[in-house]
């Protein structure tokens, strides 16, 4: 297994894919290096969140995804 990066909402269009599999482990620097410049720029914005293994990270830069984890990139939401 590996780490699966999932692109949500508008980030999906930006990445040109729904998801991407990368080698474990994956940290913040590794994530930024993997997703391409445009998505990486978005990730640096405060209003874009990251979830790892079903939990939203309070501090994105503390990302430590291990084998089998799903990392979701969550842009600003718009429900209702």
């Amino acid at each position: 297994m590996a780490v699966k990066i999932v692109f949500l909402g508008p980030l999906r269009d930006m990445a040109g894919a729904e998801s991407q599999e990368v080698e474990a482990p994956l940290d913040w620097a590794g994530l930024l290096a993997t997703v391409g410049d445009e998505v990486a720029a978005q990730l640096s914005e405060e209003r874009v969140n990251i979830a790892c293994a079903g939990r939203v990270l309070a501090d994105k830069s503390a990302l430590q995804a291990k084998d089998g984890d799903e990392v979701a990139l969550l842009p600003p939401v718009s429900g209702g």
Binding site: G9, A51, R55, A72, L74, P76, V77, S78, G79, G80
Partner: protein, 164 residues
């Protein structure tokens, strides 16, 4: 009674609100909000369809947590939250919140609270289809302001950040 649902198919609000009301004998009042896909007849918005995507590992759980908060905060007898995902046409219901309480203030405020949170603090992403194609919608500044009414700290987001 807490009833939280994510639906992938069209729903009829009245078919859900009737049984919900019946399930709470002795209630004083029920407040219900139904949001629909705006546009179409009489409204020249140009919207042909709407798509709501979500992130399944978070969405339903965050709605459940929102419901728990609202039930406690507004002393509710029951709360029903239904949210569509997938592609919807103009006029179809997107969201339904129904709150049953002994007193009207709790019921009305709970609906207001849940809608503000579903609008800008739940894991949904919305895009609209117009003649020129699909376009992603972000929450309006007004939605953030509405949400901030419920928070002493005036934080922009009120999402559960989990245990991380």
């Amino acid at each position: 009674m807490k009833d939280v649902r994510l639906l992938t198919e069209m729903f009829i609000p009245g078919a859900l609100v009737g049984p919900f009301t019946q399930a709470h004998p002795g209630l004083g009042g029920v407040c219900t909000f139904v949001g629909e896909v705006r546009g179409g007849e009489g409204q020249d918005t140009g919207v042909e369809a709407l798509e709501l995507s979500h992130y399944e590992p978070l969405t339903l759980r965050s709605m459940e947590e929102l419901a728990d908060k609202a039930i406690e905060r507004f002393d509710l007898m029951g709360l029903l939250i239904v949210h569509r995902v997938g592609e919807m046409r103009v006029g179809e219901p997107i969201v339904l919140v129904s709150a049953a309480a002994l007193h009207r203030r709790g019921a009305i405020d709970a609906v207001d609270f849940c809608m503000d949170h579903l609008k800008s603090a739940a894991w949904f992403w919305k895009r609209e289809k117009r003649e020129e194609g699909w376009r992603w919608i972000e929450p309006h500044a007004g939605d953030y302001a509405d949400l901030a009414r419920w928070s002493k700290k005036n934080r922009q987001f009120d999402l559960d950040q989990g245990s991380s």
